[in-house]
Amino acid sequence: MSLNIGTLISAFPGYLAQGIIWGIMALGLYISFRVLEFSDLTVDGSFAAGGAVTVMLILSGKPALLAVFAAVLVGILCGLCTGLLHTKFGIAPILSGILTQIALYSVNLHILGNKANQAVSVDKYSLLLSLRHPGPAIAAAGIFAAALIAVMYWFFGTELGSAIRATGSNPNMSKAQGINIDRMKVLALALSNGTVALAGGLMAQYQGFADVQMGRGAIVIGLAAIIIGEVFRRLIKITTPFDYAISLFFVIVGGIVYYVIMGIALWLRLPTNDLKLFTALIVAFALAIPQLHERRRLSRRKAGSGKGGAGQ
């Protein structure tokens, strides 16, 4: 049972590629959880839907890029569904998401031709990326991530994007400023799930199959990426006009870091059964960091003032 650092290093490109893809997924989550402050649980379903649509279209002979584009459209529909359940019928955010997610389980089975999974071989079809060629896979995922960051930076800087940000930040103020917050919520959820489905489409190609379960735990991984990214973001104390783009970039960084940590866990032969437990611990830890940091700062200040008091 020796640990060979060589195996870890040779696996690294794979983790990098998967990290970027999950980072793209996390950028989708960022729109709902961070911008809109809406806990959207649709994503487990829309991620799998993106994968399923992509694989089935490629199997039917469509070009991979077109398949991914269709996946985005399907993701947008998933988001619309959750958004309308919430805004038109007043169903609570979490429940709206869960309803769509559950419905998508059946829908995804149908998309996959009533099978739990469908393989798409890189030998037979021309895919945008595959784990068989890690280098080009990293490049392809990186291009999608960079393009997405650019588009999100632009969009959330427009009047419309700004209205979505305001809706998330203060819905009452937004209504008082004439913003139709219901419309903004639906729009943001659609864009969020479109992005998640894009990541699903890329992941299915990377791993060479789509599985009805492939989105399981996506929310936790996405949140982990966002939060780890924020922890790293805080270490870099520069402010530029492109702050927002940098924050988005760090979501991708968070995805990569998460995957490398998981890779190290696997390399250390952590039982695969315990991986989910490990994930939860990482996320809990990353979430706790700001609190721990604050507490340390306070206790240090207390110690300092104590000394001052003794000196008087």
Partner: protein
């Protein structure tokens, strides 16, 4: 300018908690009226302003603003005609957006929000000037997050945002109540200036009777969801706090409970 006719709002209708918050309110404001609104806790002052703003639909009556019936419109559709400042300084601004972004959002009230950049360079300069006139040192902090501002600064900013697009009616609901006395006076001064410069029709709720007498050209008192006293012009100028206390006690039928609360607020 605005006309409320028999406006009625019942909360929790048909339950043990039923509450007739507005009980057939009639009110007509002329263009340029600056009306201060007083009344004890629970009199229905905020409910009246919320009914105008469309926070929820009213049960009965009509609200006509600038010749247009608005009582069936959703809140965001009435917003272009209304400027609003709230009691809680947190309510009127988006804390994790910049001062500049908040102002730019307000400048687009009632306009189509499309795919143009969310502010223009010209706007930036305009806002700097407007903030300069507030005299709160905000002009050099355009890109600061609003969450970093004090309550008074936030209320002044909200006032600016409420009037950036000229509203047909300005609704101020105890917008100085959460501020210390000095800051409250400063924000009231700014209010007076903005209202008179733009000749805005205004409804201002306050618990401070001195302020209610000193500001505006007209004063109304509410009790149990009705307007029970309405005076303007010379008659208002002659009002004293004692007169108002008198009205309060006759309104509350000598029960005195809410009266004592309001007397405490006078000091």
């Amino acid at each position: 300018m605005i006309e409320l006719k028999n406006v009625t709002k019942v909360f929790h209708a048909g339950t043990a908690n039923e509450r007739r918050a507005l009980d057939g309110v009639n009110l007509h404001l002329f263009p340029g009226d600056f009306v201060t609104v007083i009344g004890s806790n629970g009199a229905g002052k905020s409910t009246m302003l919320n009914a105008i703003a469309g926070v929820w639909p009213i049960d009965e009556g009509s609200i006509v603003l600038g010749g247009k019936e608005i009582s069936h419109l959703p809140e965001h559709r009435r917003a272009p005609m209304l400027g609003r400042v709230f009691q809680d300084p947190m309510t009127g601004t988006a804390a994790d957006m910049q001062i500049l972004e908040n102002l730019a959002l307000a400048a687009r009230r009632g306009k189509r929000r499309g795919l143009k950049w969310h502010y223009t360079p010209i706007e930036r300069e305009d806002y700097r000037e407007l903030l300069n006139m507030l005299g709160l040192g905000l002009e050099d902090r355009l890109t600061a997050k609003v969450g970093l501002l004090s309550g008074g600064q936030r209320q002044a900013l909200t006032l600016l945002m409420a009037t950036l697009v000229q509203p047909q009616l300005l609704l101020l609901d105890e917008h100085t109540a959460a501020l210390d006395p000095k800051t409250a006076q400063k924000v009231l001064e700014i209010t007076d200036r903005i209202v008179s410069e733009n000749s805005l029709t205004t409804l201002m709720v306050t618990h401070n009777m001195n302020d209610a007498i000193r500001h505006g050209n007209r004063l109304i008192m509410m009790d149990s969801g009705r307007v029970i006293f309405d005076c303007s012009g010379e008659e208002k100028k002659k009002l004293t706090v004692e007169d108002l206390m008198e009205k309060f006690s006759s309104a509350s039928g000598g029960s005195g409970g809410s009266l004592a609360d309001d007397r405490a607020l006078l000091s």
